[in-house]
């Protein structure tokens, strides 16, 4: 039981960090970013390239991933999403754009980084073993703690910084925020960059444990959407709760249901359908949007 909880918490921390970026973009711009998983994958590959190919320390690689993705996010917002949002009132236009960006990034990743699974050497060796009741490699503990630290930093930034307050104002009421002098275009770009940076940072963190490959983008986006749906679209606390709930469900399901084959996600999806039928706005979302 202890092992299940620890596995769930570890999965939850990384999932929450992935979901945060997705929900930030949704709350600021009403964009469902289907390319979020691809941004995560690029973060992993940048970390791999800087760390393994260029031989730089892991922390430099991780910062490189965050910075690169922030730049990519800002470019995507400024040159793709902003014009489409300005010119089209239909929400599906941005969804189609996001899907197109996902396909484009997949092709770009293949060209730049190749098709192979990549990984970096363990950043910490050794395994914590508490009487075989809890077994957890030290690098997973470190990555889990870092994920929690980044979540706390993100919340603090959003809560207390001027930029964070402006973005929250935008998320609550774009027109009112604009009337109060908030530069919508600037803060939308910062928000997109921040979200992409979060995705890239998770990719950079996890490449040391799970490795990274071209095919990870789509499934990562799907999981991120599930977390956001569970927690409530556009709500930051909801994304965190959704991440931890999904992590815990996955951990429990894989252990308890293992004898029945691979039905964990079948059960999770079925439960999610029932849950959304009862509470379509998710745990912490508002019924009006």
């Amino acid at each position: 039981m202890e092992q299940i909880i620890v596995n769930g918490l570890y999965l939850g921390a990384q999932y929450a960090l992935i979901a945060l970026g997705l929900t930030l973009i949704f709350s600021l711009m009403n964009v469902l970013n289907f390319a979020h998983g691809q941004l995560y994958v690029i973060g992993g590959f940048v970390t791999y390239t800087v760390s393994v190919k260029l031989g730089m320390p892991y922390i430099v690689a991780l910062i490189s991933a965050g910075v690169s993705l922030a730049i990519i996010g800002a470019i995507l917002e400024k040159f793709l999403f902003r014009p489409v949002i300005r010119k089209s009132v239909r929400e599906e236009s941005t969804m189609l754009l996001a899907a197109g960006v996902a396909f484009f990034l997949d092709a770009l990743i293949l060209l730049l980084f190749g098709e192979k699974q990549r990984g970096i050497p363990k950043i910490v060796n050794g395994v914590f073993n508490w009487d075989f009741r809890i077994i957890m490699p030290y690098d997973r503990i470190l990555i889990g703690c870092l994920a929690v630290l980044f979540i706390v930093l993100f919340i603090t930034y959003m809560q207390y910084s001027k930029t964070g307050r402006a973005m929250r104002a935008l998320a609550q009421d774009k027109v009112a925020a604009q009337l109060m002098g908030v530069n919508v275009e600037l803060y939308s770009m910062i928000g997109f960059a921040l979200a992409a940076m979060l995705a890239g940072t998770v990719g950079g963190l996890l490449v040391s444990i799970t490795g990274v490959n071209l095919g990870m983008g789509g499934p990562t986006s799907i999981k991120a959407f599930m977390m956001v749906m569970i927690g409530g679209a556009g709500v930051i606390s909801g994304a965190i709760a959704g991440g931890f709930i999904l992590g815990m469900l996955e951990s429990i399901g894989l252990t308890v249901l293992s004898d029945f084959g691979d039905i964990t996600y079948l059960v999770i999806f079925a439960s999610l359908m029932v849950f959304l039928a009862i509470r379509p706005q998710g745990l912490m979302g508002k019924p009006w949007g």
Partner: protein, 395 residues
Amino acid sequence: MRKLTTLAGAATLAAGVAFSAMTAQAANEVLKIGFVGVTSGPAAAWGTSNVRSMQTRAEWINEMGGVKIGNTTYDVEIVTFDDQKDPKRAIAGMEKMAKEGIHYVVGPNVDDGAAAVRPVAEQNDIIYFPYAFPKELYTAPASNAVLGMIANYQSGPAIYKYLRDNKGVKKVAFVAANESDPLSQRDGGVAAAKALGLDVVSSNVTYQVDTTDFTPVLTPVLQKRPDLLVLSGVAPANAPQLIRSARELGYQGLISTETAQDATVLKEGAGDLANGFISVGGASTPEIASEKMKEFVTRYTKMFGEYNDESNTKVYALEYILETMKANPKAIDDVNEFKKTINTLSVPNIYMKGDSKLKYVGNSSFGQKRQIFVPMVVNEYRNGAFETLFIAEVD
């Protein structure tokens, strides 16, 4: 001055015409060979090594002046299609090959894709070389598919027997991705293990192909304390993570698979934790590789930046297609002639030392010759490279 210009123009024209005529005379005809397989996603290493092997060999052949089939010399052109491991796309890929008039295709790389393209191949006179294991593709009445590698039901029993006899393995556990290929390989492996008298302690646990954390997946399996953990049909992208998770959970037994793997991927993903991992390897170990094989590896590495160990096997399919056509030039556009020649082909294997031959096999497994002959090399991963554990043959 005008006269001089006219003269120069005429000379240039004449030279141009002469050059065009020479070029036309020197240019070879083009022989298109198709590839339909997975070159993106977690299993991309399988198809990419396939297509890159074909491209490397084609460029090499063209550089040497082309391949002579009958009285005609051809440049080899590889026409590729990424099926993204999706059977529907594999069908579209095979239809594209048919539209281009291609009769010989390498791939698809996985079971469901290979099964899906069968009707298209048979209706359009295409002989295809899948890297997939369903027996019905190779047994009569099917006749257009030729297995391009060793199947798991051929290598699995050999590996388990070796490990039972030499490493004292008694209890086996199987883990597979929740996909048709790995699941069918797992079922084949379970049957083979039971037939050898091994105790199968776990075979139900499966994982989603997009799983990134295998610790929760493996925890219940390893609680059964197997001597051997079989990763059935494991994709190269998943193998290092599964190995790493198993070792980090304290598992000290043996780990094996019947699929080919990539040493670099294992090194990067699992490091020393992958030491001792057993997999089916390429068909040319350092002990048996010829100078041509070494040149192939050099050329491949030069073309694509790094070599993929799987290509030791995948160099063969194109070679078999060309050698069969050379042996019977009518086969170039008549697959029935190709099928006839399958039964008799025996030419030197340029990739192996000694007097090894390229020949078709498969009588024991399929009741007809629908498999290319490559040595069954079983490898053990050790410190970033594969070492040969043992070599066997399939008849």
